[in-house]
């Protein structure tokens, strides 16, 4: 990296999570979350140089989800880009924008409001290609179960609580309506000490779509993302905690092994997949914001500076993976 590359901080995060929001539209939720995160950052809309959005057209029930959402996110008159592959990619792209010199402040907003659309299982079925996978009814749950079955060593569970063998309801991510927002800014554009966390690095990778062409036991994309951050000295050995959004709890356990965490590193302190619900499209973004929030300056803490990573796994059985590393202190 160029030695003149700016340091980027997370100034504020805001999450608005409701099991099923009946009284506010998605656009109203986006407006409120965007306004709240800007207030928390001590900024108004005029201070923004760009907005990065992430939504899923099928889940949102909108053909081009960024169209009705750009205005509520404060994007009119600004450079707005929707990163549609996943919410975690939107946060990465916000980071890239600032590294590239495109302004000094960016708002990132990701969302999912399945309560306004068809059941997520149907939306996910449309993500299956039309020739083979759609005909067999593939969705996130089935893909996660196929993957989890490769890790079974003891016969697996049985009984009424099995949703898709070998996964029980407690193994699967709980879903909800949610909007997640963050303000990123380059050093020098805000008062020192105002930052919530510093971004140390980001890595992201992808694996094949065809699950039959993958060894589902191996989280190849996650390993690729891990290697990217490790190459810059921001690898798992230095993390004090990690927040992982996986397609299943067995996938989270496998991810901790794939990452090779240091002894004592906390995993998913914000809650299990079942106890900390998030819409699938932005589950990784939710965990990243939780990781950033977890390293916020701790006045009374005398221990080593906290470094936390947020992990997102997207697509069937974690086809894609993203790692974003945050620190209490600026990266050396």
């Amino acid at each position: 990296m160029d030695p003149d590359t700016p340091h980027v901080a997370v100034l504020a995060v805001h999450t608005d999570v409701v099991e099923r929001e009946e009284h506010r539209s998605l656009e109203e939720m986006i407006f409120q979350a965007s306004r709240a995160v800007l207030e928390r950052a001590g900024l108004d809309r005029c201070a923004l140089d760009g907005v990065v959005l992430s939504g899923n057209d099928q889940v949102d029930g909108r053909v081009i989800s960024c169209m009705p959402s750009a205005g509520p996110a404060g994007g009119v008159g600004l450079d707005v880009t929707m990163i549609a592959s996943s919410g975690e990619h939107a946060l990465v792209y916000g980071y890239l924008r600032l590294l590239s010199g495109q302004g000094r402040t960016v708002l990132v907003v990701g969302w999912g409001k399945p309560s306004e659309s068809v059941h997520p299982d149907f939306a996910e079925l449309v993500s299956a290609e039309p020739y083979v996978l759609r005909a067999v009814g593939m969705n996130d749950t089935l893909a996660a179960a196929l993957q989890a079955s490769t890790w079974i060593t003891d016969g697996g569970p049985s009984g009424d609580d099995v949703v898709s063998w070998p996964l029980t309801r407690d193994d699967l991510p709980a879903r909800c309506d949610g909007v997640y927002a963050a303000v990123l800014a380059v050093e020098g554009s805000f008062e020192p000490g105002r930052e919530l966390a510093w971004v140390h690095d980001a890595g992201w990778s992808t694996d094949r779509y065809e699950m039959g062409a993958r060894d589902l036991r191996v989280q190849t994309a996650l390993a690729g993302a891990r290697e990217q951050v490790t190459a810059t000295g921001c690898g798992p050995a230095g993390w004090t905690s990690v927040e992982i959004a996986g397609p299943s709890e067995p996938a989270v356990v496998a991810a901790t092994a794939t990452l090779g965490l240091a002894d004592g590193a906390a995993v998913n302190a914000s809650g299990s997949l079942a106890s900390a619900p998030a819409p699938a499209h932005v589950a990784g973004l939710a965990r990243m914001l939780a990781a950033a929030g977890s390293v916020a300056r701790r006045e009374a803490d005398t221990g080593p500076p906290a470094v936390a990573a947020g992990i997102g796994l997207n697509g069937f059985a974690g086809q894609g993976a993203t790692v974003m590393v945050f620190g209490e202190e600026r990266k050396a």
Partner: protein, 399 residues
Amino acid sequence: MNRQHVGVLGVGQSEYVTRRTDVTFPELVREGALLALADAGITMDEVDAVVFPLAPDALIGVGNGERWCVEALGASGKPFMRVNNGGATGMSAIIAAWTHVASGMFDVVLVAGADRVSESGSAQSVLNKMWDVGYERPVPLNTITMLALSAMRYNHLYGADETDMARVTVKNRRHASLNPKAHLRTPVTVEEVLASRVLAWPIKLGDACPSSTGAAGAVLVSERYARAHGLHPAWIRGIGQNTETFWMGDRVGPRSVSDHADADALAVAFQRAYTRAGVTDPGRQLDVAEIYAPFSSVELHVIEAAGLAAKGEAPRRIAEGHFALGANGIVVNPSGGVLCSNPIAVTGVARLAEATLQVQGRAGAHQVADARTAVASAIGGDHQFYSALVLSDDLEEIA
């Protein structure tokens, strides 16, 4: 702004047609990728990251269709993300790739994608669903009726008429007849355009783009990579994006926040790109404009937003023969433009591709003589998301 210049090392476009039954969607995407890589003279092994342009999933019938295309692209094991800004997607993806390179994290980034607009049943029925369910969807708006309203307003405000619109089509069809990739390549006359059936008055079939199937791609590289390998890419000198209100109702009437006749928000995007590129007099400093105009009426106000004519002056300038191949001054859409080929997800990539070929003198029969600088633009949503960029064949100051 960035410390690293970003170049366009290679571009590729398939021929644009109504329908392709010989390839799946991923195979079509692969065509665009391979054409761009071949033009760049590299293989996928040398690509550091991939940005995938894909507009509404509904047009191809697969949700998150980008994931389906990873193998076809050879992107497995690489950083990969998708951009969707409606019709601006292709150029927003190019700007996203520019961002990847300018960040300093990557040296070689591929943008490649495709669209099969004519294979989605009724594209206009799909596109009607992009408006809000309560107010504007029932009007019923689609991209044709939306821009028919704009055309009526433009004609009313500036005294233009359907003949002025038809002249745009005549110019672009003549250009497209020289472009072997273009979808609509048959020259037409003003009379033929005026006699074509009305889609949504004053827009007629002859004023409208086709529903195209095709692929396009581009390879962007860092300056350090280009220098290390002795390469001579075209250079992206400036980028700019801007966003308009979603609501059509906010663009008409006494309380409107903008006028639907004009493209003022697009003008801001152009100005942002010009400022970064050091362009102060685009009509004089630029040789080529590859601008996004899916209907003849749109080209009129985009020419004005680009600063190539004053507001309301584009019809007269076109009637006088300006902006056409062979005329003095900047040539607008020498490829035939979006009016002759519109594979939505990659239409913005095609604009960059054509601008690149022009500044490098590689555009063949539709080459603008001595072209060295170009501007390209795209529009997405309901005339809502705007992208622009400036290219040149070297890194000298644009004089």
